[in-house]
Symmetry: C2
Subunit: 378 residues, 2 copies
C-alpha cells in the first residue's frame, strides 16, 4: 500500500459500499442473474458511491441528526418482511421507493445467500457475531479498515454495458472526446466551452449533438477521474472539468504553418483554410483584449511570454522565444508545464483553456496559443 496513488486514496472515502458494488456485480455476474436484477443492483447500491464522484468534502454537520433517523441494529430486515410497508410511520419515505428498495435489497440478499455455500454463510455469521460484540470505537476502526474496492478477482477488462445506451451519437461523442481532450492535472477546461466546441464540431459534421447532460455523462465515462470544479472570481464562477486539457499533439502531417498571414479564399473547407480562419479570429480577439496588434499567432504567443501573461520560464515559452527568429515548426510544448502561471491577476496558478474565441474545433492545431491565461477578474 505504500505506492498508493490518488485512486487508492480516493477509495478511502467510500469504504464498504465500493466493495459492495464491486462484489455485487462480480457476484451477480457469476450467478448469472445480472440481467434479471441489473437495475435493482444499480439503483440500490450505485448511489452510495455517487457522492464522492461528483461532489466532494461535505462540510455539513447534520451527521448525527440524520443518523438519529436511521435504525440501530442489523440492517437487513428479517425475511418475509420485504413487501409489507407500514404506512403510518413518522418517517415519510415515499412508499414507491421504500417498497422498491426493500424488495430490491431483499432480492440481492436472497441471490447472494442462495449463491454461497452453507459454510460460507456460517463464516459470515461468525464474523457478524463478533462484530456485534465490538464496542463503538472498535466498530468504527473495523469499518475504517474493511477492505474495499475491487477485490482483485474482478476481471478489470469486463466492462458493463454502456449505461447511456449505444446510440450512434454516443459513440461519436466518445470518439470526439477521446480525440480532442486528454487529462492534465494542472489545467481546467470550462465545461461550457468544451460543449460549445463539441456543438460546433457536430454542426460542421452534420452530427446530432448530445444534450449537455448526456455529454457530461459521456465525459464522466471517458474520463472518470476528471472532477467538476468551479473556478473564477467571486460571482464569476465557471464550471470546469478539472484536470483536463485539449489534446494538442496530433499527427505531424496535419500541423500547418502558422507563421504566415492568414489568407481567406472562401473555397471548400480545407484544413488550411480553417486553421487560417481560426488564427485570424484568435488574433482579432487577442487584439481586442490586449490592445495590441498581432500579425500571427506566434506574435501573440511572443507577446504573452514577454509580458509575463504566461509563465515565461516554461518550455513552451522557451520554445517560442528561441524560435522567434528561427524555423517555423510548431513547438511541441506541454501546457501542463505552464502551471502556476503568474500575472494577469491569476494568483493560484490555474490555467483555464478557453474556446470562446473559436467557433470550431481547430484549436488543437494552434498549439502555441491554445493555452492562454484567461483573466477572469471582473
Amino acid at each position: 500500500m505504500d505506492g498508493a496513488g490518488p485512486q487508492e486514496r480516493a477509495a478511502v472515502r467510500c469504504i464498504a459500499p465500493d466493495m459492495i458494488k464491486s462484489e455485487l456485480s462480480d457476484c451477480l455476474a457469476k450467478i448469472g442473474q445480472s440481467g434479471h436484477i441489473r437495475h435493482s443492483c444499480n439503483s440500490t447500491l450505485m448511489e452510495q458511491g455517487r457522492s464522492y464522484q461528483s461532489s466532494d468534502n461535505d462540510p455539513g454537520d447534520r451527521t448525527n441528526e440524520r443518523l438519529a433517523a436511521t435504525s440501530d441494529g442489523i440492517i437487513i430486515p428479517s425475511n418475509g418482511n420485504e413487501n409489507k410497508q407500514s404506512k403510518n410511520t413518522n418517517c415519510s419515505l415515499d412508499k414507491h421507493n421504500t417498497n422498491g428498495l426493500d424488495s430490491k435489497t431483499s432480492k440481492i440478499k436472497q441471490i447472494v445467500e442462495d449463491a454461497i455455500s452453507p459454510d460460507s454463510k456460517q463464516a459470515v455469521m461468525r464474523i457478524l457475531d463478533q462484530v456485534n460484540e465490538l464496542s463503538t470505537a472498535e466498530k468504527l476502526l473495523l469499518y475504517l479498515k474493511l477492505p474495499t474496492g475491487k477485490s482483485g478477482k474482478v476481471d478489470p477488462l469486463r466492462q458493463p454495458l454502456n449505461p447511456l445506451g449505444s446510440r450512434f451519437e454516443i459513440h461519436q461523442t466518445i470518439t470526439w472526446i477521446r480525440t480532442h481532450l486528454e487529462e492534465d492535472p494542472d489545467v481546467s477546461l470550462p465545461k461550457q466551452d468544451v460543449y460549445n466546441e463539441y456543438i460546433a464540431y457536430c454542426n460542421s459534421n452534420a452530427m446530432k449533438p448530445l444534450s449537455t447532460a448526456d455529454f457530461g455523462k459521456v465525459m464522466k465515462q471517458v474520463f472518470p477521474c476528471v472532477r467538476p470544479r468551479r473556478l473564477g472570481t467571486r460571482g464569476n464562477s465557471r464550471y470546469c472539468y478539472a484536470g483536463m486539457r485539449k489534446r494538442i499533439k496530433l499527427e505531424v502531417p496535419l500541423l500547418p504553418d502558422l507563421g504566415e498571414e492568414t489568407k481567406r479564399n472562401s473555397s471548400s473547407h480545407s484544413e488550411d483554410e480553417l486553421v487560417s480562419a481560426a488564427s485570424c479570429l484568435i488574433c482579432e480577439w487577442a487584439q481586442k483584449l490586449l490592445g495590441v496588434t498581432f500579425k500571427s499567432l506566434r506574435d501573440l504567443a511572443c507577446h504573452l511570454v514577454e509580458n509575463l501573461c504566461v509563465d515565461s520560464r516554461s518550455i513552451a515559452a522557451f520554445t517560442i522565444l528561441s524560435a522567434s527568429s528561427g524555423s517555423k515548426a510548431v513547438p511541441s510544448f506541454t501546457p501542463s508545464k505552464l502551471c502556476g502561471g503568474k500575472g494577469l491577476g491569476f494568483k493560484t496558478g490555474w490555467i483555464i483553456m478557453d474556446f470562446s474565441a473559436c467557433d470550431s474545433s481547430l484549436f488543437q492545431f494552434n498549439t502555441d496559443v491554445t493555452v492562454k491565461v484567461e483573466n477572469m477578474s471582473p
Copy 2:
C-alpha cells in the same frame, strides 16, 4: 427487526458509512477532539450518506468502470504515506483534495486507534483477518449484513451544533417551519410555494428571509425524512417536499367560522379578516378552475367530495358530507387520509398542496380546503 419502519429500510441503503458516521461522531465526542477535527470528520464521511438523502435510485451502470479506478486491498494507506503525493499519476485527482482527504482520514484513524485499547485493536484485527479470507460473495453478504445506523449507545439527544450557524434568522426560520409544516407521507408541497409562503411571512413580520439555499438546508434539518421529489406532468415538473403538509391543527381558539360569507372590512389585519380574504381568494380560484360558484369553502369541499375530485371515502369526506347540514365547527379531518384521490387528471394519487392562490400564511386555518387537488395536466 420485524417492526422496521421506513427509517430502517432506508438504512439498508447506507450500510457501513452510516455506522461510521454515527460511531465517528460518538467516538470523537468521547475523545474530546471533535472541535479539533470537526470539519475533517464531516467532509470525509458525511458525503457517503448524502446521496441517499437527496437523490435516489441511480440507474447508472458505471459501477465497474469507476471501481476499476479504485484500489484493491486494504483501504487505509500505511502510515507515513499520508502527506506525500505523486503528481505524475494518470488520475488527475485534485491535489488539494487528495491531500486533504488523505490527512483527514489518517487523522481520524489515528484518533480512533489512539483511543481504543490494545485489546480492542486486536479484536478488530482478528476480524479483519477473517474478512480478508472471505470470498467475494461472502464478503458481499457480510457487508450487506453489517450493522449500521446509530449504535444505541449514541445519546439521541446530543445534537451537533447547527451547521448553518446560529444566526437569528435561522432560528426564526426553524420556528416558522416547525409551526407551519408537518410531515405527512401522502402529500407533497411544492418547494417554491413553501418558500413563497415563508417570504410572505418574513415580509409581513419584517424578518430578513433566508435564501432559498439556506431555507432548503433548514428544511432538511428540521425534517430530515422529507425527500425532494419532482412531481407534475412531463415538462411541467415542480420540485416538491415529499411527505410534507401544511400544519393544519392550530389552537382551537384561533379557528374561525368558515361557513359564513366572507366579509371585507379593510381595517387592520385581524385573523378573521385574513381568513376571510383567503377564503374569498380560494373560492374565486376554484370557481375559475371548476366553473362552479361556491358560497363558502365548505361548499367547495362538498363539491370536491361529491364530484370525486378527492377520495370520497376518506374521513375528511365523511366529515364534510355529514356536517354539511349540521354544526359549523371546523372539521378536524386529516389530509393524509385523502391520499389516492382520483379524478381531475390526477392519476397516481399525489396531492400537492398549493399556496399559489394565497398570498399569506393563512392556509392553516382553512382546514377544509387546505388540501386541494391541483390539476397539473397542461
